[in-house]
Symmetry: C3
Subunit: 132 residues, 3 copies
């Protein structure tokens, strides 16, 4: 972790440029520092996945758009750090969609889930690659 | 919120009519009232997204179908209200799939997750549109 | 339940053989026994769904792959049993991807979520079919 999953209505697929947003949000996650100035999250554990939903209904079911960002993190960061991380990701998402937001109905929600799991297993050649 | 996500095996894509189900479930969410007769959930915050899974195995891995509905809500409703909401959504889903259910193996599960997140940020022009 | 959801970067779609992995993991879930030698999970409630993500960024955003497996279970198993279940699923996933793992950057993470939901409703003709 951190794992960031983006779920969105596919009626903005053509304008959303989701690949760029995924890379931008991974950069934000990698750039955050904790109270000691160390990386808040491990770069080698950073994953961002985005899924357009082919079927959806938003609010009254009209032609509205929605982007949901869910960040899943391990237990251990301070509340202040969680707020900083959430705000930084939401700001990047808002900036990414600012022009689309001015043109159409659109909701963006970002939530963080912390320490939900009761088992956590890994097998990776990515962590060592980025812990040099 | 409320956020309702539907995940289902893609072997029922042709018969599932998921767009209709999404709109119907959004209507159910919008029609629910709390103990004071006020809307149980904000219409401007209602989102329903449905995702067919291209790969799946159900039970013994035979040609079975599965529809999973997960409703994510904020903390604050009574247990009775959560039951009413869950039952109403499940009833609508059962009615929607009644003919398919009589024809093939199919499992429908609806669960509600409440107040899991530790950060909740929003940017939307939908809430104001529907709070008039 | 158990519900196992697999989310993965679509840059391994051609080599991942996800249908085989789904069936293999469903078999693992169905073969696990509890302390009394009884099935740890109900076969009729076993579901495995896998979703390739069309947009993604892993670690530094390079051409890396990621497979996330999330198992959702009901409350009630011992910690030892949860570890056995998690280890067995992760071992199967590692074996499935062993050749791919030796060829490219790849991260595999398996997590178990237990008893998150506050409402749990079902409508199924699968449980009876497999409880004979």
């Amino acid at each position: 972790m951190p794992h960031l999953k983006i779920e969105y209505t596919d009626n903005i697929e053509a304008q959303a440029d989701m690949g760029t947003l995924c890379r931008g949000l991974a950069q934000v996650l990698g750039s955050l520092k904790d109270e000691q100035g160390l990386p808040l999250f491990p770069l080698g554990g950073t994953r961002v996945l985005a899924y357009p939903a082919p079927h959806h209904a938003v609010a009254d079911g009209g032609d509205h758009a929605f982007v949901y960002l869910n960040l899943r993190i391990a237990i251990g960061r301070s509340d202040a750090m969680k707020t900083i991380a959430g705000d930084a990701l939401l700001e990047r998402a808002k900036a990414h969609f600012s022009s689309l937001f001015s043109e159409r109905t659109l909701g963006i929600t970002l939530q963080i889930d912390e320490g939900v799991q009761v088992y956590d297993g890994k097998h990776s050649n990515l962590h060592t690659l980025f812990s040099k």
